[in-house]
Symmetry: C2
Subunit: 221 residues, 2 copies
Amino acid sequence: VSTLRQEANHNPTAGRRQRNPRGQGGRLRTELVDAASQILAESHDPNELSLRAVARRAGIAATSVYLHFNNVDELAAAVAERHFGELGRAIARAYRAQDDPGLALIAGCKAYCRFGIRHPGHYRILFEVGRPDLAHRRQDIQRLSSSSAQDVLQALIASIERCQQHGLVSSASDAAQVALLVWTALHGMVSLRLNRPSFPWPPLEPMIEQTVRRLVGLHEA
Amino acid sequence: VSTLRQEANHNPTAGRRQRNPRGQGGRLRTELVDAASQILAESHDPNELSLRAVARRAGIAATSVYLHFNNVDELAAAVAERHFGELGRAIARAYRAQDDPGLALIAGCKAYCRFGIRHPGHYRILFEVGRPDLAHRRQDIQRLSSSSAQDVLQALIASIERCQQHGLVSSASDAAQVALLVWTALHGMVSLRLNRPSFPWPPLEPMIEQTVRRLVGLHEA
DNA sequence: TGTACATCAGTGAACGCGCGTTCACTGATGTAC
DNA sequence: TGTACATCAGTGAACGCGCGTTCACTGATGTAC
């Protein structure tokens, strides 16, 4: 009987959770997103992100998830939102560390790919998980997370425009259009490396640099 | 009782299957791959490709799948093999339809993307489904399907080399290396369009053409 | 020509699993009177 | 100051589902004698 309860409700490695104090029930929401992120960090496969797995990891009953999310898709959307934020901050950090606009652009692109390679589960939930239900049913949430994606893209556009303003890149082509070429190419590199790890891939960073330089028309310093 | 049998074993839209004649049991293998392809063609989501779904679609008992495949992963590998072949033929057809090596290269790339956009389930099973079990356990099968992927890549390399030989592309950079840039970029375009259909994507073909021209250094005719 | 037997192409019931979701509930803590 | 009540943060059992896989089997067709 005790093993049954263990299996059903508790993460055997974690201690028994004590309930939050009155008025602090909202903390569980954060803990659930934490737990989901941990699962994604370990699994590489977003399909392992189930309501029951998250509840197990957080040390609560499966039903308690419904105190904060109407269904499992809303939980997944909250997780995606968090990781969109983290991706954006990782890119911004790498970008700001470079003075030259061209090098900053490339550094941001490398940060994007590095995030994907280092956090496959998190990256996949952002760009490889089809959650059509969400897109159809919960327009508010979809707007939120797609605006975070837009933020990432906007930053890329701005960084290409900055190269144009410094004369490093021709102003003949539209920065927004070129940014799309770059984004899709970066995604392709991440996605294929994650999904075909046994392929004999050459080193990632030179590949990123070549792709970005050629796509935006940025020549060696 | 009769509804139970229906649900368990039969596709209600298809007639009752009659068994293959003696010595022709191997036909079922083809029918299973057919059924699996149909499911993928309709679903967009490779997770719906389950052993039981395939059996239902083929009009046989779930257990009969084991007459031809040791497990569900071998079935998936057979499906992938077939669609690698179809992708390769689609590319070759488009390629051969153009005389100019530069236009042929671009036509092949467009065919690659078109295949992915038109057959999301089939494309995903080739490049977005992580089947680590297969890669680890069944080396022979992995070799097969990865050699089909290699065929596609080899064709791309050859078509870039042909551009070099005709002086359309500089011979300064390695064709194999550039081919990788092109392949990953094409995959990124397909993957993102499939996974984020609500994003306001610009028309696909100009985007492919720009990407390929810039990556290989092929200028407008 | 008749019959026993082997082979072949499948079947059907059952198993244990994890899943999302529902429902009625529990028990501690604060608040109104 | 004591007590009834409301609120809050969660629980536990149960549901029906589809899944992959196992096991023993069935029934038609060919073959050896």
